[in-house]
Amino acid sequence: MKIAVEDLRVRLGGRDILHGVGFAAEPGTVTALVGPNGSGKTTLLRALSGMLPHRGRVRFGTRATAPREAIGYMAQDTAGRAVLTVFEVVLLGRLSRLGVKVSEGDLAAASRALDVVGVAHLAEAHIGELSGGQRQLVHFAQVLAREPKVILLDEPTSALDLRNQLHLLDLVRRETRARGLTTIVTLHDLNAAARFADRLVVLHDGRLARCGVPETVIDDDLLAEVWGVAARVTLDDQALPTVIPLGALAAGSSRPAAPAPGGLA
C-alpha cells in the first residue's frame, strides 16, 4: 500500500517537531529516512505508525489510516527485562490475533520469522539474556511475524556488527520486494542508506531537505548544509554515491574553513 504524506505537522510538549513534511513511498520499495540527530526522523515514523497525534494528510493507499495489524513498527530502543522467551516475543508480533489458545497459523508465522532472520537458535532464551544486537534481530523477527503491509524501522542496525548490519538490511530489501511491502527505515549511515534504499528522504530541523533516488540526493552541498560536515562524495562503479567525510564544519558555516587536502580519508 502506497504511503503519501502531505504537510505533516507534529507538535510535542509545546514545541513544533515537524513543520509540514511531504513525500511518498511506493509498495515494494525501501525508503531511507536520514538526517542529523533531532531532525524529526523518529517523530515522523511514530506519527506514521499511528502512535502520535499529527496534523496534515497521510494516506495509506486510498485510506486515511492503516489498520494496526498492517503496520510493523520497530522502536529504536529494544531493551527490556521481561521473563519471556525469544519465541514468545516474536509471537507477540501477532498480538491482535492471539487468544487464550494460540492458533497453528500464529505459531507457524513466528517460527518462520525466527528462521528467516536467523535467530532460531535463540528461540528458548529469555529476551533479557540477549545482547543488544541479538535483541534488535529478535524485534525485527517480531515485525516480520506480524506479516505487515508497511514496515517502519527506527535505526534497526544501531547495535549490530558489520555482518549483521548487511544481513539485516539485505533481508529488509528482500522481504520488501518479495512481499510488496512499503518500507521506511531511519539510518545514520549514509553509505548504507545509498546502497540499500530505493529512495532517500532527508530531514533537517523538522523540514524536508531533499528527497529522491540516492544519486541525485547525496552530494557535498547536502552534507554541508544538513549535517555540517565537509565531505567528498564520489560515485562507485554502480553509480551509487559514496560519502567520504573530511571533518565537521564550524557552526554556522556552510563550507569547510580550510578543507585539508586528503582530509580524514
Binding site: A75, A82, E88, L92, L95, A123, H139
Partner: protein, 349 residues
Amino acid sequence: MTGSATPDHASSWRRLARRRRAALGIVAALTAVAFVVDVATGPAFLSPMAVARSILRVTEDRTVDTIVWSIRLPIAAMALVVGAALGLTGAVMQTILANPLASGYTLGVASGAGFGASLVIVFGAFLPLGEAEAIPLSAFLFASLASALVWGIGRSRGSTPEGLVLAGVALLFLFQALTSLLQFVATPEALAAIVFWLFGSLTRATWGRLAVVAGLVAVMLPILALDAWKLTALKLGDEKARALGVDVTRLRMRSLAVVSVLTAAAVAFVGTIGFVGIVAPHVARMTLGEDQRFFLPGAALAGALVLSLASIASKSVVPGAIFPIGIVTALIGVPFFLVLVMRTRRAYW
C-alpha cells in the same frame, strides 16, 4: 537461515506450555492439601482425613461438622481467596508499574484502608452502623478513594508508571500520617484496636465476607485474563506495546481499577497482610515465566498457598492461640523468598 516453516520452535514452545500447565496443577494440588491441613489445625485436633470427609460431605459427624463448617472453613477459605487476590494484584501491579517491588499495597490502597478502619474505630460511636459493618465499609471506601486519587494525579502525568508510583507513594505517606494522627488522639482502647486491625487477621472471616471477596476474585480474574496478551506485550515496555497496537494508557487504567477493587476488598475484611502480594508474583515468575496466561493464575495460586501455609503456622506457633497472620506471613515469607532469590541463577527482573 532457511525460509521453510520448521515446526520445531512451535512444538518446543508447546512442550513448555504443557510443563507450565503441569506446574500450575502441582501448585493447585499443594494448595488443596494446605487448605485441608489448615482446617484440621486448631485447638481441637482433627485428622486431615476427617476434615476432608466433612468438607466433601462423605460422612456425618456432628462435632467435626460443626467445628469445620461453622468455625474453620470460612477462615481457611478466606486465607485462600485473600491470598489469591493479593497474589493476583501484586502480579498485575508489578507488570503495569514495571517494578519488582510493586504490590497491591504500593499505591497507598492499603494505607487508605487502614485510615478508613481507624476512623471508624475512633469515631465509630457516632455512626448508625455497627462496627462489624462500618469498619470494612469505611476501609473499602478509603481504599477506593486512595486509588481514585492515584488515578487522577497519575493522569496528569500521562499515566506513566513513574507518575503513578510517585502519586501512590505520596498518598501512602499521607494516609499513614493521618492514621498516626488518629492513634495519637485515640483512647488507649481504640489505639489497641487500631494496632490490632492493622496486624491483619483472618479470624474476621464470615461466610458472607468470604462470598464478597471470592465473588470479586471470580469476576476480576476473567477480566484480567481477557487482557493477558496485552499485559504480556506491556512487559516489553510502553513504546513496544503501543507499536503492537496496545492502548497502553487504557490498559494500565483498566488493570489499576481491577487491582484496586480486589486489594480494597481483601484489606477491608482481613486488614493489612503484607508481603504475599510481593512474594507470590515472584514465585510465579520464576516457575512460569511472564506469559500472563500462566503468570496470572500462577500468582493467584501461589498467593493462596502462601497465605494458607501462613494460616497453619499462625495457629501452630503458640498452641491454643492465633498469632497475627500479617506477622507470620512476613516471618515465613521473607526467608523463603530470600532463598529463592539467592538460588536462582537466571535474571528474573
